[in-house]
Subunit: 172 residues, 4 copies
Amino acid sequence: MRKPQILVIGYGEAHCPPEAYKTARVVGAEVARQGAVLVTGGLGGVMRAASEGARNEGGLVVGIVPQSEKEYANPFCDVVIATGIGHARDFITAYSADAVIVVGGGVGTMVEASAAYLQRIPIVSIRGSGGTADKIADSYLDDRRLVKVEGETSPVKAVERAIRSSSLSPRV
Amino acid sequence: MRKPQILVIGYGEAHCPPEAYKTARVVGAEVARQGAVLVTGGLGGVMRAASEGARNEGGLVVGIVPQSEKEYANPFCDVVIATGIGHARDFITAYSADAVIVVGGGVGTMVEASAAYLQRIPIVSIRGSGGTADKIADSYLDDRRLVKVEGETSPVKAVERAIRSSSLSPRV
Amino acid sequence: MRKPQILVIGYGEAHCPPEAYKTARVVGAEVARQGAVLVTGGLGGVMRAASEGARNEGGLVVGIVPQSEKEYANPFCDVVIATGIGHARDFITAYSADAVIVVGGGVGTMVEASAAYLQRIPIVSIRGSGGTADKIADSYLDDRRLVKVEGETSPVKAVERAIRSSSLSPRV
Amino acid sequence: MRKPQILVIGYGEAHCPPEAYKTARVVGAEVARQGAVLVTGGLGGVMRAASEGARNEGGLVVGIVPQSEKEYANPFCDVVIATGIGHARDFITAYSADAVIVVGGGVGTMVEASAAYLQRIPIVSIRGSGGTADKIADSYLDDRRLVKVEGETSPVKAVERAIRSSSLSPRV
């Protein structure tokens, strides 16, 4: 039985406020502490912060980068998936998630959340982290109401909720 | 010199109100009349309506379907691109557009509009057509303000605006 | 009823001998004369040669490029599909073909032929054009014998055979 | 510093002879014993055999499936990447490899080997394992001679060679 794979998405490197970086690091650390595998898009900003947090707690970190070269991944990834398909890799990160946690983010984050939503993968949004996270917390992404984006203020509770809502229980 | 490629996106088959279908057909017809190539996701709903409209006016219709089989395309496509990459084809439709026109739509439409936005491709939204189109008309999709989604009420003007804002002039 | 889409594949720009370029131009011209749509990978070498040939005969030319920017396409494309997925677009060119014609080529050409073979799309190889074309002419690509690669020496006959073997008849 | 990622490719479920299955299981076990991460396409046949072998030795197993649902992966995967892009995922498995080992295989295996070759990723082929592996052992895949496919008869030596030729040293 594999462990739940928790995808953390949000602000990219160029637009990541220090506060969101800190939050993402706590989220990543919690993913590791609660016995799940961390999955991210493998680059900077929130992706790097979460990876750093999980790595520091001894967790397993998977980075799925848009490029065809593994070298683009941040240094906290234990496993690097090099897709070579550019932004379209946002669908792969989403499909590979048992649940998603959103920390801030712009339109790319919205794409990943939308991909998860279309696949009915549970999404938890960190309230107060800005951008996409605040925009979609406690709402449905369209009229089909496929899955509700749950809002949480505490990173610890967000990770608990993500793991609980994934169809897999952790192996601790 | 090739003609401008105008992408029309919006409600899929299962969720397309009759009013949006009519609007999309008029948009497609206008794309053909104004000498541009129509590009769509190749399936039903707004994609089919726009294709039907353009075909009736003797325009060139390109359908880019998610499946690996061309047979999934609606019967109004002159050229069918079978991608086999599922929803990720939304990035291909967006990248293949010189400009985009939005007619209603759900979260999949938001993904395509976001992909175009990230690439700085001009987007025109039909006001009053519902869903995503109304949600994003006259706004920026995130704080980076990469490109403004222009709102238009008239399909004719929307097509004029889309062609004008594309970096290519039509060959009529 | 749409016209058959004939995909021409082979040597890329950096490795295309003048003889293969000439052959590909004749093949492209024949595709247009025989009333089919030409599809290529949209770049240089055999892709450009075939596009030039078809364009000169007034045919419709579709280029499907690996990049996310349409500007990479050769100037003979009437329709440009920008995929942004790199080499993986070889599957899209293959899936979009009603039949494939091979002119020389290296390992990338083998990938495209293999993708067509896996989908049971008819393949015709120009004998004497070198590389992959000569390697696979008159053979099966693996033990499953899904579809035989037909060898032809004459470009005219190769195009006739490709169109005949596609499940669509041309609209002339 | 992450561990080397060794991709094992070959016969799919429907065409995998018992002998190749056994060989692949030994290869997978060796990948784990020698301290590397096993990467496969996540499905049956050689992919499953290698995963089973690595899992039994306590190694880390990553499966990259063509579907958008993680449930298609074989039960020996610790991490599942669901791509949703069909056969085009062969490029992702290749790009994610620090080195590749080939056990038999048909045309799909040739595509993966070709993708690795184009990216100059080291390839080791198990001599005597049949199909693609025997076809490409000790040869270059095209005239550009980008990287030579090394042939090895012993699975243990094949894994040693793969790890040594990857640019990363194992963390044992």
